[in-house]
Symmetry: none
Subunit: 215 residues, 2 copies
């Protein structure tokens, strides 16, 4: 499949390709996708539901909640442990929870979760959303991921990936990977959105990530 691997080379801290480690080259069996629990009648698009606080799904929209965790983030622990959680729906076989043994900052964990969210989205669409799903939403509590992908990358691509203070963008390679995944979906006619929600409205993905850390 080689998605977006044309981007990202100039990055020394990219230690592995997350698309490889879960064997996504193998076709999964066809399954039911359940994201009805994210839908509430009367919710405005792109605004939290007044009843449950979650962001509303449309029938043509696949909402994927992602989260990264990184225990002992501020501490000089000898054993840094990171993990991510991808939540598609309750009991969905597309849900993902896994450790990222080599990643050591919370931000990279969040970006990795975003990449994997998009990879999962492609899989879901390919298997059961063909011709139905035309929009993918990555729902995250990380401002770094969401603003990075919706506001900052535009400037960065124009100014040579320079920070407002003049430094290099630290996780450039991960953002380029994300852009590659987005581009691939857009090329297939799928709109990709990033939504920022507060921590308490991302509980499912958070739980998955923390489960992975415990195990």
């Amino acid at each position: 499949m080689a998605p977006g691997s044309s981007t990202s080379t100039s990055q020394p801290d990219r230690l592995f390709d997350p698309r490889k480690i879960w064997g996504f080259d193998i076709e999964p069996s066809v399954v039911e996708v359940d994201y009805g629990d994210l839908t509430h009648v009367g919710c405005e698009f792109s605004k939290p539901c007044k009843v449950c606080g979650r962001l509303a799904a449309h029938c043509n929209t696949l909402i994927i909640a992602v989260d990264g965790a990184c225990c002992s983030n501020g501490r000089k622990d000898s054993t840094p442990q990171s993990a991510l959680g991808i939540f598609v729906g309750h009991d969905s076989p597309y849900n993902l929870q896994t450790k990222l043994p080599w990643v050591r900052t919370n931000q990279v964990a969040e970006l990795t979760a975003g990449v994997m969210g998009l990879v999962v989205a492609k899989k879901v669409i390919k298997n059961e959303g063909q011709g139905v799903i035309d929009t993918v939403v990555i729902k995250a509590d990380s401002e770094y991921l969401v603003k990075g992908m919706t506001e900052w990358v535009v400037k960065w691509q124009m100014n040579g990936w320079k920070t407002a203070k003049g430094g290099d963008v630290v996780n450039r390679g991960w953002f380029e990977d994300l852009l590659g995944e987005v581009e691939e979906l857009e090329d297939a006619g799928v709109t990709v959105l990033f939504w920022h929600v507060r921590r308490e409205f991302n509980a499912e993905a958070d739980q998955l990530a923390n489960l992975a850390l415990d195990g």
Copy 2:
């Protein structure tokens, strides 16, 4: 009397003035104050007694144990049940136990107990401690109350009541009330101290608070 009511106005969650609800404007009859049970020979000042774990009283010191309870803490109960207990001495008429029907968090219950402890202290001194008691100790198991009043308020008053993480101090109004009570006592030449003890050394006040909840 209007004690400390000059402070605390900017607080929307202050639902009532605890000084009002027990009618402290009325002079109580003169009574014997017994706090001998809190005194143990050989205890170092400001350290727990090696025999009983309690903090030692001096003859010029009035020790008041306070505690708050809140049985609807972790739940979305529509009927919050909070209470406080103020313990001056065994069979002391200054002991207090009462429900706080409008208080819905454990922290506010603890802070309210602190306010009432100081109000009771003023009463005791006025009635039978004039010229004798020059120190009041509020003994509590709540770190929130004790550290709040001994460490954190100093910073908060200087930084505009901002949390270490940049947010607003949640129960600012209650801390301002406490400061008002302390100031009034200090103005009268009384030193006010807050002592933190473990839960098991605050049993009397705890019992009073729980009695109020049951009744």
